[in-house]
Amino acid sequence: MIRLQSISIECFRGIREGRIKGLTDVNLLVGRNNSGKTTVVESIQRVASQAGFKHDILGRDLSFWQSMRQASSQDLMWYRQDKSKDVVITGSITESTSPGSRQDITFRIPGNMPPGGVVIPRFSIDEQRMRTFFSVISVLRPFDAFSPQIEQKFWPALLSNRRDKGLTTALNEVFGLNAESFQLLPNNQLMVLFDNYGLPLDSQGDGTRTAVRTMIVLTMMRDTLLMLEEPECHQHPGSLERFSAALCKLAKSQNVQLIISTHSIDCVRSFMLAARTAKSEAAVFHLTLNDGKQDARRLDPEAVETLTSTGIDVRCLDLYA
């Protein structure tokens, strides 16, 4: 199974220098605002663009990042807009079935040059598998999960092998519902069908809608990586616990690596627990950014548990070190 193991960043957006290593099955990025969490997420997709990525699962290409920041100028990609240095982002992937295997993939934008990149020609990992891993690396942000385009895009594929059944089961588990199935009407309205009545998905609460659409997206992914920004949005802590359990279980069965950025301690706790239940490995990465240098402190679940019981909030490690 292929996993992104580390990402190093030079002179990209707010990060002059930084490296995150030890990424595993389920990864939580925490840290203050402006610690570079979103830049890490974008960096991963930039690296993927050098190994097969063209569009994410929602059909968005890398221009998404420009529009998301409402910045047409590419100068903002360089740290402090200093184009005298190259932007260099390197991702390392490993193949768990092949001990010692490692493939570095570098995205580079030379100063004053249009974006480009290179793949370091040292293929210790099967190239096709590597390209499969990178080809649909996706990011889901909180507002994405309100888009009805998700069910419109994926419904035929979901039905073709009845993955809608698993979706119904997960929804019932997360929200304690008793839905029998989903159905997409000709007017593209997704209905949740109960025993003797049906309701449009969009008549449900925000938590239910975002959970269903996130699960639809994950159901369509396999052997790749999904990044979720603030999945706790709209979720009650109890629902979040079950939602994270459903996500981790599905990610495990679909062999999808998860990277989650969050400001919520409930989210950290829920995903740590969910990963353990799903028998996946997990880690928390606390990010700080000082004068452009990003520092990532990695904590395994045992350390997170011990620190929490000692009274330390793992989102605020910068208060202690």
Binding site: R298, A303, T306, T310, G311, I312, L319, A321
Partner: protein, 259 residues
Amino acid sequence: MPETKKTLVFYEGDDDKVFLQKLRDAGIWPAEWDLAARTKEQFSGKDGLIRQLLPVVNPENGVGGHAVVLIDHDEMSIDERAEWFKKNLSDEISRTASVVQVVDGPTEGRVKSYRIVSGDRAGKVALVVVGHPADEELKNTYKIDRFAIDDWVFRLALNQSVYEAVSDLERVPYAIAKTKYLEVAELFRKNGLEVRKSKTYIQILRALAAIGPSTATIVGRLVKKGAEALGETQFRQLLQPFIDDLDAAARVLAIGINN
């Protein structure tokens, strides 16, 4: 203005926690020191303390932060206890992250410190071995030879002004209490029961005065009333050299603060 980094203070037992909380309330230690929440069911004893401390100071798979550790002398000297601490911390680290090393840091008086180093990151621990083996009265009169943080609590109880400031002790006059400590301890010994620790005398006091609440409660009251009755200068004097050790711990942790 940059935020002051917090230091976590680790201790052994519930009574120690109350003693330290009341010292903090009396303004005895730096504002940036926080008491660790000790989960004794999961991390019991001195070994448990080290396991709970590890992710706080470990720069790999941890915070790489600063901690003050208060561990009782028991029957050990400061050097023996420091050696024990360093060995156990190193053993625990080697079990989890072999690239991390425990190296000696600055020492001041009775306080030793250690750096837990990995590459350019380091956590720091100041070790304060607590107890009062230099107190001749505790050793000779009360036959104490296992020294612990309770020595300071008992030292407060032996001070007449402090004793008489605690309303729970009103029914047993100070002079009688002093006599009864020795009588009860002698009776214990005649019956083959050990009396080697200050904690036993605190428990005798609790029984004499028929104090319902826990030992921790009487510990808290002795410290709180002691600070009020004696005033800061006298209170600090009574708790020397413990207070000096806390000040020294703050200083050794501040050396090379960015390292």
